[in-house]
């Protein structure tokens, strides 16, 4: 309860939460709020905002931008969540293994993580998607492939910290098996920073997904915000609204997630000075 109060005392957190809830609501109720198929060519091309039936204007094929925004929310959020989940699975598994076993296993796994952090991650993602083919599954895979190292590092750090704590040792002495130790004692205590980093990872995932779609590497059947900005790049002179609105949507969503994530962090770790995630 103290935690919730601490969170609510943070103005950034509250604003972020409100924005985030708004985005999620739009995403969930998109078909009700904007009952227009975002792919349907409902109007003439390049209609400006505030045209009849086209509150945010139309794009190069005459499609409703507002519909694209609403339905795009589902795509961007879904991909952000899915890839973060995948990254968490990979990262936590690797980090836990490294932290638990230590020694050679730890050294090898951390070298691998270091390698992934040395190479230009976005380029690896681009290579992965372009090689395997632009589809939803491959996008999620690519984003997860470059997002797991910080999560692994964090998990490892937490495991190292908690492994030798008294309550864990006590449980070990009582004969609890390693699996139980990990699942019942260590993980629950490591959860807080993992969740915070995880939520910030969702924001990064959304940014990476939009960049991939912008470059034309997104799934061609999904209207995402990044795709909309990408399609708008060449017509920026005649139709500024086709790139401004979708990009603003990305900005607001990522900002909201960042605010919430940081407020969570402050509420859970009041003593630690705020550090921005790497």
């Amino acid at each position: 309860m103290g935690f919730v109060r601490a969170f609510l005392r943070n103005p950034g957190g509250v604003i972020g939460l409100v924005l985030l809830v708004a985005v999620v609501v739009v995403a969930i109720f998109a078909p009700l709020l904007v009952p227009v198929d975002p792919w349907e060519m409902v109007g003439a091309p390049f209609e400006p905002p505030l045209s009849p039936d086209l509150p945010l204007g139309s794009d190069t094929m005459g499609r409703d931008i507002a519909a694209g925004l609403a339905h795009g929310a589902r795509v961007s959020l879904a991909i952000g969540l899915a890839s973060t989940l995948a990254a968490l699975l990979i990262g936590v598994a690797i980090g836990a293994t490294a932290g638990w076993f230590g020694g050679v296993v730890d050294a090898v796994l951390m070298r691998i993580a270091e390698l992934f952090q040395t190479i230009p991650g976005f380029i690896l993602a681009v290579l992965l998607v372009a090689t395997l083919g632009p589809s939803l599954a491959h996008e999620i895979l690519a984003i997860a492939a470059i997002s797991w190292p910080p999560l692994a590092r964090l998990t490892r750090g937490e495991f190292l910290r908690l492994k030798n704590r008294d309550f864990v040792r006590a449980a070990a002495c009582q004969g609890e098996r390693p699996a139980a130790l990990v699942l019942r004692h260590i993980l629950p205590n490591a959860l807080a920073p993992i969740i915070v980093t995880g939520s910030l990872t969702v924001a990064t995932a959304i940014l990476i997904e939009s960049a991939l779609s912008f470059l034309g590497l997104g799934d061609p059947n999904l209207m995402s915000w990044g795709y909309m900005v990408g399609a708008a790049r060449t017509v920026i002179r005649q139709a500024w609204w086709t790139s401004v609105f979708p990009g603003a949507a990305i900005l607001v969503t990522v900002l909201a997630i960042n605010l919430v994530g940081e407020a969570l962090n402050d509420a859970l770790n009041p003593r630690l000075a705020r550090r921005s995630g790497a």
Binding site: L115, G121, G133, L207, V254, S276
Partner: protein, 328 residues
Amino acid sequence: MRTMAALAAWIARTLAVILVIASVNFALVHAAPGDPAQVIAGQSGASDETLLRQLRAEYGLDKPYPVQLATYLGRVLRLDLGYSYRQQRPVLGLVLERLPATLLLTGTAFALALGSGILLGTLSGVRAGRWSDTLIGLVALVLYAMPVFWLGLMLVLVFSVQLEWLPAFGYRSVGATLSPLGQVGDVLAHLILPVLSLAAVYLAVYARLMRSSIVEVAAQDFVKTARAKGLTRGRVIRDHMIRNAILPVVTVAGMQAGALVGGSVVVETVFAWPGLGRLVFEALSQRDYPVLLGIFLVMSVLVIVINMLTDLLSRLIDPRIDASAKAA
């Protein structure tokens, strides 16, 4: 002695990284369906078996993968990055031709982000709680959440399309004949918007990091001692606080080098900047394997170099730092 050993270790590590990256690249890119012979043949407007066979033999595409990989790795070590099918020239030449543009972009962006980030972060930190701190914090927050490509497009919209102050695309003006000084100015004018787009996110990161670093340092004893000794605020900040606060920022900057270099792909695409990032994209659609492998390798080396530079910078700032103490 220590430096020689450290240098040797660095070289060995770099070499190992390069070979691993090269092998991974190779496996990745060859895992996909389709082959380059078809690309070249198809683009001639006609294709037939004779041509395909000729092309495959010419580019060694008919040998088994392990042989191709071993040959590739061997050549990489001799700085031979292969031959581009599409562009019909050696990859090394192609990469070296585009490298300066990317170096200019990423180098300037890195320096700008770090420099202004430290400046703004210090400003913010010493005036913690005041409106200037809040303002800088808000700006940083927004910049941090911005998609790089969108920021680029917005800058183009405002400064090129609306105000017509700066050029929208490219490296220099087409067709203009300028004096050498004019040429430099021309390139600089084209450089402004791409650099701003690329630097913005990292500027935000470094500013916020510097701020919290400064706040932490300000609370420490030696600063209080310095103030008690009667030193002016300015001198305290300059001589004591910054030196100590800067370290984590530089360290993080090094760790983010990969992201910065990777971000050049998007920025170069938006601004049609003729660098390696843009080449990645061009080579991708052509399935130009050697070029892709070459660029990825070179960019990884670039990141390693940046890491080394930030490492050196860290040591300069605080000679007590031992490289191995840079923990996870």
